[in-house]
């Protein structure tokens, strides 16, 4: 679905990505783990078009039958249209918009008004908080509620590929469980997910495959289970002695 080859990105003078290559196949959850500053967020921002790669290719096909397109030179809004939705780090709900407006703005590129309303109603059933607090400004929700809102806001564009940046950040453990349950359910429903996480243990547990990023390079890759058993990964990211 997504194939990244030898991508270099410079970000304000620093060489943030130094030739990374990775693939995400349809229906997978792929985890990208690594320390702070390793380039995880930069990778997602490059895929979603917020940053331009200096070199390398990013090709994406929304389904198996579709011809792959080069998204490396596309504008962010064209990439959303192509079916990639990015939940940025730190949740980033629109504080000046109500909860429902936050959801509606997620459907900005859709024009099927009735279906949008149905999708919003559907999300409100899955996450009742989005209904009970529909008219409250986005930033009045708690951290966990905001996370539900941004996942809903990303889903309402009906993406094929979901990019999630640190969904567990700053959330209580049972909320993190809840978020990961949602990701499992999305995978069962056929969603493809690229997940960036600090919480490597949980990310590797849920991921089909995973990549380890260090100083702008991919240093390890494998199935989630393999990496969770890898001694280096255990030492560096899983807190083993």
């Amino acid at each position: 679905m997504l194939r990244i080859e030898d991508v270099h990105v410079r970000r304000g003078g620093t060489h943030a990505l130094r030739g990374i290559s990775m693939t995400v196949n349809a229906g997978e959850i792929v985890a990208l783990i690594g320390a702070n500053g390793a380039g995880k967020t930069t990778t997602l921002a490059t895929i979603s078009g917020l940053l331009r790669p200096e070199s390398g290719t990013l090709s994406y096909a929304r389904c198996a039958e579709a011809a792959p397109i080069d998204i490396g030179r596309m504008r962010a809004e064209q990439i959303v249209q192509a079916g990639i939705s990015h939940c940025p780090e730190g949740r980033q709900v629109f504080a000046a918009l109500s909860v429902t407006e936050n959801l509606r703005i997620g459907a900005y590129l859709r024009h099927d008004r009735a279906a949008i309303d149905a999708d919003i109603a559907d999300l409100q059933t899955q996450f009742p908080i989005l209904r009970t607090r529909a008219n409250v400004p986005g930033d009045r929700l708690s951290g966990g509620e905001q996370m539900m809102l941004v996942i809903g806001r990303a889903l309402i564009s009906r993406p094929k590929l979901l990019l999630l940046d640190e969904p567990s950040l700053g959330l209580a453990p049972q909320l993190v469980e809840q978020i990961f349950d949602i990701l499992e359910r999305l995978r069962r429903e056929g969603m493809t997910i690229l997940l960036v996480e600090q919480n490597a243990a949980m990310a590797l547990d849920i991921a089909d495959r995973a990549y380890v990023l260090e100083a702008g390079k991919i240093v390890l890759e494998g199935t989630g289970k393999d990496l969770a058993g890898n001694a280096d990964v255990q030492r560096a990211y899983l807190g083993a002695a």
Binding site: R75, V80, P88, F94, A96, L97, I105, G106, L109, R153
Partner: protein
């Protein structure tokens, strides 16, 4: 000082406030979306007045048609200025855009002086707008009523647009965070252009109103109303459209009442009063009357 006198002063304050509010809305929309204090905004107001004069006197358009022409040309001025002068500065420090806007203001003023001369021009509205309406207590002109009614209609339309249309919501989202707005599929260049178009169209209408009300226009007429509308936007809370409206009316009313109710020897202090009021409001309420705290985002 009878009640009719006070009432007519209040009416004058509401008229002046309507015009300030329309200019202030543009200030606040443009600041809200690009964090630019647009010093050229008062000159869009001037351009609006001259466009009206040209449409009425030179081309002989009916007044309502001239109104539409003024809105559209004002919007066009705004969009062109944004494209040429401000877009290349995006991402630069705030002061750079501020200086660019000063340059635009000086260029526009001098263009008018060179092409039309600095002499004030007489600005005549059709006779039917000058007719007097008597309500029993006070007598006002049709144009005065029209100014207030039109301003209110435009403001209601704007609030509806910003809150209940998809593009309006997208504009608020863009004002809050460019990157996240782009992740929603919003073309932020287009939203910024739209904010300039709407804000400038409203300022141009205000110029039309000013000429109609006071009967005289000049290339530098935009300077003080522009500054005062900026004060109104700040008093209301810069970035907030309802704040700009409230600020505009508060300023217009208090300015007229200050001049009208105090002994005549104080009327020379009218501008000092306005800017003094700004300082007091900012000391007491640093975010303005209706502003959100945006300290962390500046």
């Amino acid at each position: 000082m009878g009640s009719a006198y006070i009432l007519s002063q209040i009416v004058n304050g509401v008229i002046l406030g309507s015009m300030y509010a329309l200019i202030a809305i543009g200030f606040t929309m443009i600041y809200g979306i690009v964090r630019l204090i647009n010093f050229a905004h008062g000159d869009i107001f001037t351009m609006g007045a001259f466009t009206t004069l040209a449409s009425l006197a030179l081309i002989g358009l009916p007044f309502p048609v001239a109104l539409v022409v003024v809105v559209l040309t004002g919007a066009l001025f705004g969009v062109v200025i944004e494209r040429i002068a401000f877009r290349p500065m995006r991402g630069a420090p705030q002061v750079t855009g501020f200086i660019a806007s000063l340059a635009v203001a000086i260029i526009l003023e001098n263009l008018l002086v060179m092409t039309i001369s600095a002499q004030p021009r007489v600005f005549l509205v059709p006779e039917y707008l000058n007719r007097l309406v008597s309500t029993g207590v006070i007598t006002i002109r049709v144009i005065d009523l029209a100014i207030v009614a039109l301003a209110i209609v435009l403001m209601i339309a704007l609030v509806f647009f910003v809150h209940f249309t998809k593009v309006g919501i997208a504009m608020r989202a863009t004002a809050e965070n460019y990157d996240v707005a782009r992740l929603m599929g919003i073309n932020i260049d287009r939203m910024i252009m739209l904010a300039f178009a709407i804000g400038s169209g409203l300022a141009a209408v205000s110029g039309l109103m000013w000429g109609s009300k006071y009967g005289q226009i000049s290339p530098f007429m935009g300077l003080l109303p522009g500054l005062k509308a900026f004060v109104a936007a700040v008093i209301g809370g810069v970035g907030s459209i309802p704040g700009a409206v409230v600020g505009g009316y508060v300023l217009g009313l208090s300015e007229v009442l200050f001049v009208g109710l105090l002994p005549p020897e104080y009327s020379g202090y009218r501008n000092a009063f306005v800017f003094g009021a700004l300082i007091v409001v900012l000391l007491v309420m640093p975010n303005g009357l209706l502003g959100r705290n945006t300290e962390t985002r500046a």
